[in-house]
Symmetry: C3
């Protein structure tokens, strides 16, 4: 079960010696050694340097960098540089630029600026990836390929429009099928020829960036856009594979980033990597959620490709990380499945928009900084693990469904309540498990559910072909399924499952939802559990008719007082909970507690603690990560009294306490 | 006086069987019958279906629909389908699309998407209307023609620019007159040739959508745009009239919608129809205002073309209508002059942006829903009226002026206070009459005032040619005229009436307004009536010199303390009140109460009640509508003790109370 | 030292008789005389009138205006009319219009609408200025040339793009130097040919209007844009000088307007003029700041080219000026260095967007208004000064640095805190001196500092070549230098001064700033002075290592509690204060008080008073201006007991009090 991709924990990050004079390079090597840095991500944005014109390639500088890092025995994460096009390409081929949502064709600027359907871009990106693989693929210190960088954004140019028509035709085959899928009879939008289709931006069906007149075309555009960028990724990957069949290939993802269907992408990646940039006020449960999501993409350890040693620059308020915070954040990352800790970046930029982004070596240029010392301490600790942790698994009996198509469809929906947001709903449910130290996997819409005891699918708005059967099979076999309001409403093209909500989930849940009330932010309803506890509800309130379900809680206000807000249904050997409204935290906890009672789901630690406790296991070992993310100091859980903290070698006692950001790693 | 357009109260709504398989049609007919539905609006968005290409027309499906409805004895409201262009037309003639305020030429998408000055659009819209009239005009069950749908929006394309120059030349005849009207000497904008004129969008004189450097051109653009769309309406109407000289023609309006001068439109319509979509927090007085405005357009009963049975989708928060709310809202609509109750829509959409908009038949597809039951109850009640109510008049001695050109001009004004909004001011005055159950008509700027005892004209900013004389004649003859700050300021081209505010109203009001102070939202002034009552004022404060007027209330704060805030002037046989600032509700009530004392204006019901009470009268009968729109329960007014509620047959007693949304209809 | 540009205090303002019929002109002359108006600014927006087509010029009307004013012995401020292009020029040469930040090429509309790099515009603007000078330059009553009007805005058209490349090439000479300056190796933006450069608007490197991916190019674009408009100014000035070598030339500036580097502009202007438009809630200290800044541009008296007699129109809330407020504001203006008081405008517009902007003659058209009477009173008072005040100097030992390039660079910076605003920071420091009645000069980055005792340079983010040496020399010679967080960070191209913050100021300040924490608006830190006083800090918090500095105050919260927040360093004969965070007002006062103690800086008045007291001195006389800008009444400072108020002739006693807006002028 242990999946080791690397020989050691990669510890390093983005490194751009090309932006610095040569004398700095040797100084870097010296300083990095003091921090146990063993890895560098290079060549992320060097296309213009490597290919100064359409016909010339220049590798001398990269040769020197690779040679230096090789000599120093670094694990080199070699990027392909295709995330920002050279200026000459815009001048010569303006079509390589993107056309934005407003319909404006851009000129040279920024990064992530290639039209994904530009043949010129594709031609030269493929060629560049191939040349890099040819030149460096055989170097054993090239440990990982890093294609492009943070794929994202969109293009609405003419080339994309033409490509979209091809994609649509390929998906629907006939005009009739398309008209039906997009429900184009509505408002008389029926088309008769494929080239009547136009992209759904501000000049087409879009209302604004987050709203659309026809969700069908807008969701399909997102599918097309995600696929188009994925094709670019695959094109580069395949180019690399012509010269290097073994080195793992990745690209760095961005957590819950909306535009790309990461579960689909992960299938094409050898290892997932991602960039973790919480804000000063992001809940730690949300950070944990994104780690679990990234690990779940391949159900395997991942790379932390980027985090800042201390400060960011692009947030509105870029607070410093407090002493110990970066260390705790790094261990949380590892606890949830990371096999690498990499920073953006190793030396802080002298200019341009990221110069206020923290780095291992700050502008002062020395190792005499708090940030460096904290980095070095972590480096030393990580080195002490050797390869013992690598590939260790996170086991979970709880699955939460995370489906990018649902994400898109739910948020495109016009009505009933504009404040309904997909990730926010997912997080409300994840938060419960996080607080209880119960391990969670995220699963896609087409997941194999056999390994799980509980499946939680909040706002499972879009139920696609086969999902009903899969979930019914899961529950039939004894699984517990928890779903909510705004579930089972539409199929894959955003057309409603007629016959009563929650459509394909109706028999499972044993309820019919007749109406969905929407509450404004200043409004709430009251609820009461049949066991007596009271709570509040908001946002959306299903009006539920139990068919085979029993009532768990009722509304006690509004005209639907005394009708169910939460129900429970027996189905086959399993149980289905239907939570018909957004509950306050305590009420949601009550529901989920009850749902868990009849399952085999156990917290990582039996005893109750406000500390975060996570377990990773290899075939040989099991590691507990114990972290305090609260301002208050908390005692060591009794379970661990007498064990040894691997990080300090300290034997833990009844008197051991964890202050904020204190972290322990304990071998089970 | 009774104007009957229909033979029965039309009860039905938008119906799109074309979006559904045939088996659903018969099910619809069965279910609708259970709800006493007798009318359907069809063919609203079917252009693409009816005309699949430039040369083909296809009526088979519509034939079947009309045939089915005819067989079932429906009153068919037949739409012309021109509110959304077919996709092929955009592809073949991109000029049919609109250019938006930002100067972006759109592609295919949305509805209401035709450039009103596109000859291609006009050619095919006219032809379609003609063909429909030719084919269905003789069908006696086609009870009403519904042209286009919710006309609105704007276009700023080159064709519109050229058309605007023609319109402007036609209005002003000479360049000199134009330069003067638009005051183009200001900022040296003098033009010398007509084609130097450019449309006032973001690339021209507009500052942003609601602001402009030259109100003259921007107001004229709105006149031109309203006229242009009205010409399209007339074009279709005339096309219909070639084959059908008798069936009434309408298009559905949108209450206080800003862009179209509905008083001008109404002259071309046989009957007014409109769509009533209050938000969850719209005051009921505002809903009543819009009904009265729509009725006043032709001073005749109107059609409620659309309302939702329960839920909307396009508001931020789409609450359900509570039990009884839709019924009460429907009777309020009838009370204020409607002869039809039509829903959008009869069967809920399976997809696209309105799928969360409520319908008589919901997604569950059955009649077993609260929404359906409430609809059916209403249907039964309405059927019981037969034709007794049809054409009944609402009589009023109070006129409030509502002038779209004022609306535009006032809100384009740069200074003195950006929070000044036309409809908000109108509503503050209307609210008083609503609370007192005093019937109100709205009148246009060129109204015949002879039937009224009181004319209220809040913020009568633009006083056009002839208005001074008309109002003076009205007051001379004994009328009471009430006007406010920001009145009499400009003429029809937004140039100031020089010589002292309120310009042409100065002699009438007997005051000279020397200065207009603007208060920020956090600021207020204090006022005191000469009779002792105290109040507050805000927004704008006129500094008034009474000339012939007497003082009703003075400011008691700011540097203009002890100068008048409200005055009263005798003029001829009549009286003029000038209210120089925005007053708190109680203070405004005091003013209006005093104004009413010397008139013959009576409330519909002598006794005071928080219930809404409205009277409609035919030549034979008089119907009182009594509705409770308050959360609290209120007793039946004593006047009605012993009468019978037509809706339930119940004899009303001293013990009768009305809970929220309870409604009675009582024959006088 | 006294610099008299005029023979009397100019009292008048913008005058547009061309917008009025001739009969009004004579009425104007009569009324203006009653107000002692002696000056008029004419021909500001008359290009379209003067040049009705490409080939015709028409001066008859202007001749008449000049003749009338000459006859009445006015000081004529003659504008060149080039601030708004004629409509025909847009029609014939669309390139004269600007392309905006969004990339939209505009059509005819507004003013300030010329592309600064349009050769067509330049050709005709130069020709117009030349013709005006030829025709009117010899008229002795033409007292001042007023070029264009409120230069501002930007253009991003193709012509500007080409001109920018030339400007850039001229600045950097080689591509290598350019790549280095803009740090284009970052994100691989390296260019190889000059025409790969594109303008940094929304289609290029800009993120939004206030943010950019590459500050280097964006700052250079602002330099280029400021220079380009300045070139247009110089072009017109030089055209005038061909026919008129002596009459002073100005253009009206706009205080802290961001886009133009006014210190650079002032070098080309004979006298500075500016337009003062505070909002209803602008602090008076801020108004004083802008006056001092405008005076400091040339370190000489300036013209108040525009203020409103009472009301504005383009603010959200356009309050009236209260009785006495305009007078007090005018004397404040004179106190800080104005030799003219000019209004916008003399007669209120009949139409277009400024019709609600106040004027000396209001819409009523008579002199019987409060506004007129207050104007007339002021006119009489000013006339009584004769030429005694003209050219009087404001002496100051305190310099505050105000550098437009810093302004741009600081606000383009991505991180650490988006709420950091340049002028806001400057104002926090200025406010201290204002409250203490200590005179302040503003100085540019390349100032001669020899005349000052204190140099305050808040957020001196950009330290350019030579500044370190200049400031060190200043301190070495005994000066006191006060600087703050976010100082010494970058050089002129926004590349960081490596080696530890505050870079070139590190030795001066005697501190090394290791980190910069950013606080969100809801966060604060606590501080404590070594002398015991406590305070709060916010926004940004430097973490400081004193090197040679001593500690003045420490943080007492956060993880950097007990590290310095404020330090003081001895350097040469002088002292340097480093204020590492944004302090509350009292704490900042404590710091500055301490800094002043060891200098020769004295308040204008020894005694403490909440009144504003300003001193202007000629070689013969000294004038104290004493003003009360507080709602509360305050006693006359004892110093002035027994003196005479020049404005009223009143002898001032111990009982004299100043109510709000009361103003005294006292000869020392």
């Amino acid at each position: 079960m242990t999946k080791k991709v690397f020989d050691r924990i990669l510890f390093g990050g983005d490194y751009n010696p090309n932006q610095w004079p040569k004398e700095v390079w040797q100084e870097d090597m010296r300083i990095f050694k003091d921090a146990n840095i063993n890895s560098a991500t290079v060549n992320v944005f060097s296309w213009a340097k490597i290919q100064p014109s359409e016909t010339e390639y220049y590798f001398d500088e990269l040769d020197e960098i690779i040679e230096m890092l090789t000599k120093e025995n670094y694990d080199i994460v070699l990027a392909t540089s295709t995330a920002a096009l050279p200026a000459w390409m815009f001048k010569k081929y303006p079509e390589v630029a993107r056309t934005d949502f407003e319909g404006r064709h851009h000129k040279f600027g920024h990064r992530h600026n290639a039209c994904p359907n530009s043949l010129v871009y594709q031609k030269y990106a493929e060629k560049l990836a191939r040349k890099l693989a040819e030149r460096y693929g055989a170097n054993p210190r090239v440990t990982c390929w890093h294609i492009n960088n943070e794929y994202g954004g969109e293009c609405f140019c003419e080339n994309c429009e033409k490509a979209f028509r091809v994609w649509v035709k390929d998906r629907y085959k006939t005009i009739e099928a398309l008209n039906k899928a997009w429900n184009l009879e509505f408002w008389g939008h029926t088309i008769y020829e494929w080239d009547e289709i136009v992209l759904p931006n501000a000049l087409g069906e879009a209302i604004d960036y987050d709203n659309t007149a026809f969700a069908g075309i807008s969701i399909d555009y997102r599918r097309f856009n995600s696929d188009g960028m994925l094709n670019n990724f695959k094109m580069e990957r395949d180019a690399i594979r012509r010269h290097d069949q073994t080195t793992p290939v990745t690209t760095n993802l961005m957590g819950t980033y909306k535009n790309l269907d990461y579960f689909k992408w992960a299938k094409e990646m050898d290892i997932v990597s991602w960039d973790n940039y919480p804000s000063y006020n992001t809940p730690w449960s949300y950070v944990a959620l994104t780690h679990d999501l990234m690990r779940s993409l391949k159900k395997a350890p991942f790379m932390l490709m980027e985090q800042t040693p201390s400060q960011q620059n692009w947030q509105p308020y870029n607070s410093l990380k407090k002493p110990g915070q970066m260390r705790a954040q790094s261990y949380q990352t590892i606890a949830h499945g990371a096999d690498t800790i990499q920073y953006f970046q190793l030396r802080r930029s002298v200019g341009a928009c990221e110069k206020f982004h923290g780095a291992v070596i700050e502008h002062v240029g020395t190792e005499d900084t708090r940030v460096f010392r904290e980095t070095a301490q972590l480096g030393e600790e990580l080195a002490s693990f050797g390869d013992s942790l690598l590939g260790a698994a996170n086991h979970s009996r709880v699955a939460i469904m995370f489906d990018w198509e649902n994400y898109w469809a739910l948020e495109y929906t016009s009505g009933p309540n504009k404040d309904l947001k997909y990730v926010d709903q997912i997080h409300q449910y994840y938060r419960y498990f996080y607080d209880k130290n119960i391990a969670v996997d995220f699963v896609p819409a087409d997941a194999d559910l056999s390994g799980y005891s509980i499946l939680v699918a909040p706002v499972l708005y879009m139920v696609k072909e086969g999902m009903k059967e899969a979930i019914e099979a899961f529950v039939n076999a004894g699984g517990t399924f928890i779903t909510t309001f705004m579930s089972g409403i539409v199929g894959e093209s955003d057309n409603v499952h007629l016959g009563g909500y929650p459509g394909p989930l109706r028999e499972l849940a044993g309820v019919w939802v007749e109406e969905i009330d929407a509450l404004a932010p200043e409004q709430t309803n009251q609820i009461q559990f049949v066991t007596g506890e009271e709570g509040t509800s908001r946002l959306l309130c299903d009006i539920i008719h139990p068919e085979t379900a029993e009532v768990i809680a009722n509304y006690t206000s509004n005209f639907y007082a005394n009708t169910p807000a939460v129900t429970k249904n027996s189905f086959g050997k399993g149980t289905v909970y239907y939570i018909g409204t957004e509950l306050d935290t305590s009420s949601l906890d009550l529901c989920l507690e009850q749902a868990l009672e009849t399952t085999d789901v156990q917290p990582t630690l039996e005893e109750t603690t406000p500390l975060e406790v996570v377990l990773r296991e290899t075939e040989e070992d099991a590691f507990y990560f114990v972290m305090n993310f609260h301002a208050e100091t908390h005692p060591l859980p009794k379970t661990f009294v007498g064990t040894t903290d691997l990080l300090t070698g300290e034997v833990l006692s009844e008197k051991t306490v964890l202050h904020m950001y204190d972290t322990l790693v304990i071998k089970a």
